[in-house]
């Protein structure tokens, strides 16, 4: 049975990596096979689903979807572009940091879907190529999303699974290294693309003609939506002392926003990406099958043997292993499989958070390596293709792989100096 479970999981990862079939279908078929073939019984399949992760994702999707309708994020992106006054260095840093910060506090997939179309328009207005700016935004969103519990799906899964880690723990342990990495990577990318980002002063003046506040002035629920979103983010900071789970915070915020800023509930709930929710659901059941068959314990044992139980060795193996695995497959299924492995490695000793930060950094930074490594990359590639400006896998890889390597070196040094 354990070979069958491993076979189903590896086959599912391969099909997801090569994008032969939609990843949600793959995850659901894998989950169904695990249950139908008796690898995992129905009771354990339901127990294997991390409902807190699904709740957190759903709540954030509703919150961000309803707030987005007000035009407040468009306003933010346009104001940032105006602040740059068409100067390439300023434009690149401002766009990278607004993307990074939005990714940290919304989620990186939503951020990319909001920011890329506006960037395409800004690039047209400025008369420059949009591709460098979009690439910088994708990489910034994955790095920025690393900073918080809610910023990137791997962190959401870790944060909801590991009770000892709260929202503030993520900020304290991951935000500084994410900020530093984002600064270094943005500077490097500016150097690479500076010749493609030269703006004609006459075009730069056109940015000033845009009126960013106009959409907001026309919006009905802007104050209520922003108030609830900011209140929810504040509640995330306080969830540990208040003894409230992050999923409860997100779902309460979403419920409040539905009450005060949604005229049509059916329409508001359309903002939930059900394919993503079902993808997670299928993954959790598949990983439950691996756990049930003892495969997770065997992988954890193998890592323990290779590293000789060394704390530094384990941390580095998790960081680089998670990055390579995420780059090749997709950081969501890889993290789902790695979470019980890291849990198993910890054993029954006192709680040690270092390996969790290694996993978060490896999975989130690894998401930058290839076009399929993170949901935000796939989404951005889709937006570019629909806009008639597709980006090839190789072109993404040529920038994504070196950026990932550099980011991982920074992460490794950070872990060695401050965590391990």
């Amino acid at each position: 049975m354990e070979w069958l479970a491993a076979g189903i999981f590896v086959a599912a990862l391969a099909v997801i990596a090569f994008e032969w079939v939609h990843r949600t279908k793959v995850a659901l078929v894998g989950a169904s096979l695990m249950v139908i073939l008796g690898i995992l019984d129905e009771e354990h399949a339901i127990e294997a689903v991390d409902w807190a992760t699904l709740g957190l994702l759903t709540g954030m999707m509703i919150l961000v979807g309803l707030t987005e309708r007000t035009g407040v994020f468009t306003y933010l992106a346009l104001r940032v572009a105006q602040l740059s006054r068409g100067q390439p260095l300023r434009l690149v840093f401002l766009l990278a940091f607004v993307t990074g910060v939005l990714s940290a506090f919304l989620d990186n997939l939503t951020t990319i879907l909001l920011i890329v179309p506006i960037t395409l328009l800004l690039a047209d207005v400025l008369g420059i190529s949009a591709i460098p700016l979009v690439l910088i935004e994708i990489l910034a969103s994955n790095i920025g999303g690393t900073a918080t519990l809610i910023g990137d799906p791997p962190n959401i899964m870790i944060g909801t699974r590991v009770q000892e880690l709260g929202f503030l723990d993520f900020i304290v342990n991951l935000a500084p290294v994410s900020f530093f990495t984002l600064t270094v990577v943005t500077a490097l990318l500016f150097l690479v693309y500076r010749n493609q980002l030269r703006v004609d002063p006459a075009r730069a003046a056109e940015i000033e003609r845009l009126d960013p506040a106009r959409d907001i002035r026309q919006s009905k629920y802007v104050k209520r939506s922003v108030a609830v979103l900011v209140g929810t983010i504040v509640a995330f900071f306080l969830h540990t002392p208040l003894h409230i789970e992050p999923a409860v915070v997100a779902l309460t915020g979403a419920t409040l926003l539905l009450l005060v800023a949604a005229d049509d509930v059916e329409h508001a709930l359309e903002r939930v990406e059900w394919s993503t929710i079902f993808f997670f659901l299928g993954l959790f059941v598949m990983v439950g099958g691996l756990e049930q068959q003892g495969i997770i314990s065997q992988v954890a044992g193998a890592i323990g043997e290779v590293t000789g139980g060394s704390r530094v060795g384990e941390g580095m193996a998790i960081l680089w292993g998670a990055a390579v695995g995420s780059a090749m497959v997709d950081n969501i299924p890889f993290t789902a499989a790695m979470i019980p492995v890291v849990d198993e490695l910890a054993g029954d000793g006192p709680f040690d958070d270092a390996n969790w930060w290694a996993l978060a950094l490896g999975a989130c930074y690894g998401g930058n390596a290839t076009m399929i490594a993170a949901a935000a990359n796939v989404a951005a590639a889709g937006v570019l293709e629909r806009a008639g400006r597709p980006i090839s896998f190789v072109r993404f890889l040529a920038i994504g792989a070196p950026v990932t390597a550099l980011s991982l070196v920074i992460a490794a040094v950070y872990l060695l100096l401050f965590q391990l």
Partner: protein, 148 residues
């Protein structure tokens, strides 16, 4: 209820080798919501007023949900038509909605309600007869009720 044969069809079509501009002209000249793209008498695609708009403006426009900030249009956004004019219509067309001339009116109504534009292609034994505008269809149905 009138049959499709009794309804006024518009002979609005372009060949598969037509350009975006050819299709745009056919659409505006005939004043219908969609023209058929035809090859050897068979409908292989449909070019609608939505496709015309998509061609006239940057393609990312559809993905932007807020554009009121463009109160004064930047000069860079006006050049799209020149670029699109010579592109093949096949790059802009979509899957056609086709109904046979013998189809019952209720089925045609259902087709109209489930497609996002106001004209369907009418065929007889697979060969294109003409475009049926939604408004003409509704007018014919209303007239038959009044006559009855």
């Amino acid at each position: 209820m009138p049959t499709l044969r009794e309804m006024p069809l518009v002979d609005a079509s372009v060949g598969r080798s037509a350009t975006f501009l050819d299709a745009a002209r056919a659409l505006t000249e005939h004043g219908v919501a969609a023209v058929a793209v035809v090859e050897d008498g068979r409908v292989v695609g449909m070019f609608t007023d939505d496709d015309l708009l998509r061609g006239l403006f940057p393609r990312y426009l559809e993905q932007l949900r807020h554009t009121a900030f463009l109160e004064r249009e930047p000069s860079a956004l006006g050049a799209r038509l020149d670029a699109a004019a010579a592109e093949p219509v096949t790059a802009h067309m979509r899957e056609p909605v086709v109904v046979d001339v013998e189809t019952a009116a209720v089925h045609v109504a259902e087709r109209f309600l489930h497609c996002d534009w106001g004209a369907v292609a009418v065929v007889e034994r697979g060969r294109f007869l003409g475009m049926l505008p939604q408004l003409e269809f509704a007018r014919a149905v209303m007239a038959s009720r009044t006559d009855g």
